[in-house]
Subunit: 392 residues, 2 copies
C-alpha cells in the first residue's frame, strides 16, 4: 500500500494537482479477540463519498480512506438505480459490472469493434474545471464509448440499460480511471484506521500546502485495546462452565459477567491523533475535521474546543437531526485563516479571537447547480465542498 | 407485513408445500437513543442465505427473516461475479439489475418481442425435486427467456454478460418469482428481530408439522433496553459541559463516564424466546437452533444444555475457527427424534439419554454434488440441509 500511495502522490504532485485525503465510514472495535461481538460507530459513509465526487469534479486527486462496506463514490449512484443498499457497490464494481473499457483495454483485447471507438468531446466532460483535467495520469489513453455488444447470455434490465444517469456515471468512471485520480484504501477496525491514516498523511506531506485532509470518518471515542479483549466468547449464562484457557485477569478488568447476569464493560478512550497529524504527519496540509452532536446546544462550543485543541483550519459541525440539511462551518479569521464575504452564506463572528461560524445549507447547493434532482445530501455536500475548496 | 405473511403461508399450505422460516445475520443494539454508537453481533448471514437457496431447491417455500444488509440468496452469487461485497445485492436487486421478465410482465408492457418468449423446458429446472415445483403459486405464468434487447445507453461487462453462472442464477430467480416461494422480512435491532420472529412463527403455525424453523441468525446475548439508553451522545471528554436535557438517573445506572476517562457500560441479558417459540408460537414445527463457540471444549456441552432448556429437535454447533468446514449436529434418538444410519456421516451417542452428535463436513456436500466449484461453505450448507430435511 505504501508504494501505491507514494506513486499516486508523486505523479499528481509533479503536475501540481491538489491532493485530497478523504476519510469516511465508522470504525469498529472488537470486544472479543476471536471476534464475535463488537462495538461500532454509526456512519454509512454517504457524506464522505459525495465529498470524494465533488473534489474529483474540482480537479483534485483523491485518496479515499474508507470503511469496508461503506458507501462508495459512483457505486452509490448505481446502487440507487438498481435499488440495492447504497454501500453495496464499490467504485471498482462499476467497472466489473458494466462495459467501461478504456482504449488501452480495447487494444489489448484486440477488439474487432475498433471502428466503434470514439474520443469523447471535451464538452462531455463532467469536471467543472476542465483546464485541470489533463494535467496528470492520462498516459495518452483515449476514452472509448461502450462497445455496445449484441447478445450475451444475459442482459440488463431496460430501466438500467436506458438510464441517462447510469450513462453519465460510467462517463465519470472512465474519466477517473483514465486520469488515475482516485486511490481507495480500506479499513475496518479503529487501530487499522489510525495506522492507515498516518501512512496516508505522511504520503501527502510531499505535496505540502496543496494537500487537503477531510476527516469525515466517524471514529470511535472508546475502544477495548487488544490486550484487554476477551480471548473467548463471553458466556451469557452461568452453565457452570469455567474457561481454563485464556488469561482470566485481563477479562476481569474490562469485561465482567455479574451474578445478576448483567455484563459490565470498561471502554478506554481512543488515542486522539489529530494533534500529531497537524504537527508531524503533514503540517502544511489544510485540515478539516468534523463534530457530530445530538444536542445542538453544545455543538458550537465543542467545535471551538476542537479547533483550539487540534489546531485545524476548519471544523464542520453537524447536528444529528439536521445533518442532511445544513452544516455549521467554523473557521478563524486573520492569522492563517482567510475570510471573505460570500453571496448567500450567513456567517457570524463568535468572539474577539476571530472564530467564525458559517451556516451552509442544501439550498445553497441547489442555487449553484440544478443537477441534484432533489438529492438534498448531494446539494449540501456540493455547497460544503465549494466553501472548503475556496478556502484551501 | 402480517397480511403478506398470512397470504404466503395460506397459499403454500393449501398445496401441502413445506414452509421453512430461516433467520440470518446479526442483531444490533443501540447504546444511545439518538443512535450514534451501538453494539453489534458479527454475522454476515452467508450460511443463512445458502440455507434459503438449498431449501428452495428442495421444494420448500421460504420465509427469510434477515438482517438489513446481510447476505441474500442469489444476490450473493451476482455480488461475487461483479466483485462487490456479498451483502451488497439483495434478492430483489437481481431483478432490478438484469432482464428477468416473467411472461406477465412482458404482456403488461405489450412487448413487441413476444416471438422471443419461450417456456423453459422442465429439464432446465434448478430444483432437485421437480415434482414439487408446480405445486403452488404459479398462477399459470410461464418463464420467459431474457428478451435480449439490442442497444440501450449502457451495456454489461462481457464477463457478466457471458457468464453461465449469472444465467443460471437468473433462471433460479425467475423460477422463485414465478412460484412465489420466497418472502423476505428484514430486521436490524434486536427487539425488532424478536417481534418479527414471533409474528413469523405464529403465521407458520397454520402449517403445523410441515413447518421448519432454522434459527441461523446470530442474536445478541446482551443489550441495553430502550429505557436505559443514553438520550444524547455520550461525551468522550470532560469539557466542563453538562447535559441538562435527558434523565441523568438512568444514564448513571447503565452508562457511566469515569474520572479516568474510561466508559462503564452495563448490558442486560436479551430475553430468551426459543422456549416460547416451541411452547406457544408454533409448537408443531421442527426447530433447528444454533450454537457458535470460540472454545471447542465447551461446544458439545452447550449444545446439550440448549436442547434440554429449549426443547428443540436439533442444535447445530459451530466452532468459530472451523465453521466453514464442518458442523456438529445434535439430535436425540427415540422419543420425537428419528435416527437412521447414513452413508458417510459419522455420529456418536453421547449418553443413555439418546443425545447424538453427527459431524457433517463440506466434503460430504462435495460427494453429493459436484456443483460447488470449490465453494466450501456452499458444500457444507448443502450437506447440512440434506441432514436437516431428511429428519424433518
Amino acid at each position: 500500500m505504501d508504494g501505491k500511495l507514494r506513486e499516486f502522490v508523486t505523479r499528481h504532485t509533479a503536475h501540481h494537482v491538489p491532493i485530497a485525503l478523504v476519510t469516511s465510514g465508522g470504525t469498529r472495535t472488537p470486544i472479543e479477540r476471536n471476534c464475535v461481538r463488537y462495538l461500532d460507530n454509526f456512519s454509512t459513509g454517504t457524506r464522505g463519498s459525495y465529498a470524494v465526487e465533488e473534489l474529483l469534479k474540482r480537479g483534485y486527486a483523491v485518496i479515499h480512506l474508507k470503511r469496508e462496506g461503506s458507501v462508495s463514490p459512483l457505486g452509490r449512484i448505481i446502487a440507487d438505480v438498481i435499488k440495492c443498499e447504497r454501500g453495496g457497490l464499490s467504485f471498482d464494481s462499476v467497472g466489473t459490472l458494466f462495459d467501461c473499457k478504456l482504449d488501452d483495454d480495447v487494444d489489448m483485447e484486440r477488439s474487432s469493434e475498433d471502428d466503434a471507438v470514439q474520443t469523447e468531446s471535451s464538452a462531455d466532460s463532467w469536471m467543472y474545471f476542465s483546464s485541470r483535467e489533463n494535467r496528470s495520469g492520462n498516459n495518452g489513453r483515449r476514452i472509448s464509448r461502450p462497445s455496445r455488444r449484441r447478445g450475451g447470455l444475459v442482459s440488463l434490465n431496460e430501466r438500467v440499460a436506458d438510464s441517462p444517469l447510469v450513462q453519465s456515471t460510467l462517463r465519470m468512471y472512465r474519466e477517473i480511471k483514465m486520469n488515475g485520480t482516485l486511490l481507495t484504501v480500506e479499513f475496518l477496525y479503529v487501530d487499522e484506521y489510525l495506522d492507515k491514516l498516518k501512512m496516508c498523511c505522511e504520503a501527502i506531506n510531499t505535496s505540502g500546502s496543496l494537500a487537503l485532509v477531510y476527516l469525515a470518518a466517524a471514529v470511535s471515542d472508546f475502544y477495548i485495546p487488544k490486550e484487554k479483549q476477551a480471548t473467548h466468547k463471553i458466556q451469557s449464562r452461568d452453565y457452570g462452565i469455567n474457561h481454563q484457557s485464556g488469561s482470566k485477569d485481563d477479562r476481569d478488568a474490562t469485561i465482567r459477567l455479574d451474578p445478576d447476569n448483567t455484563l459490565q464493560l470498561t471502554l478506554y478512550p481512543v488515542p486522539k491523533v489529530i494533534p500529531s497529524l497537524r504537527r508531524d504527519w503533514c503540517p502544511n496540509a489544510f485540515v478539516v475535521s468534523f463534530k457530530l452532536e445530538t444536542d445542538f446546544t453544545i455543538l458550537q462550543q465543542k467545535q471551538v474546543l476542537a479547533m483550539k485543541k487540534n489546531d485545524v483550519q476548519m471544523v464542520i459541525g453537524n447536528e444529528l437531526a439536521t445533518r442532511y440539511e445544513k452544516v455549521f462551518i467554523l473557521t478563524r479569521d486573520g492569522a492563517g485563516g482567510k475570510y471573505f464575504e460570500e453571496e448567500g452564506i450567513e456567517s457570524k463572528l463568535l468572539d474577539d479571537d476571530g472564530y467564525r461560524v458559517a451556516e451552509v445549507t442544501a439550498a445553497q447547493g441547489h442555487t449553484n447547480s440544478s443537477l441534484f434532482c432533489g438529492d438534498k445530501i448531494a446539494a449540501l455536500e456540493h455547497a460544503t465542498i465549494d466553501y472548503v475548496v475556496k478556502r484551501h
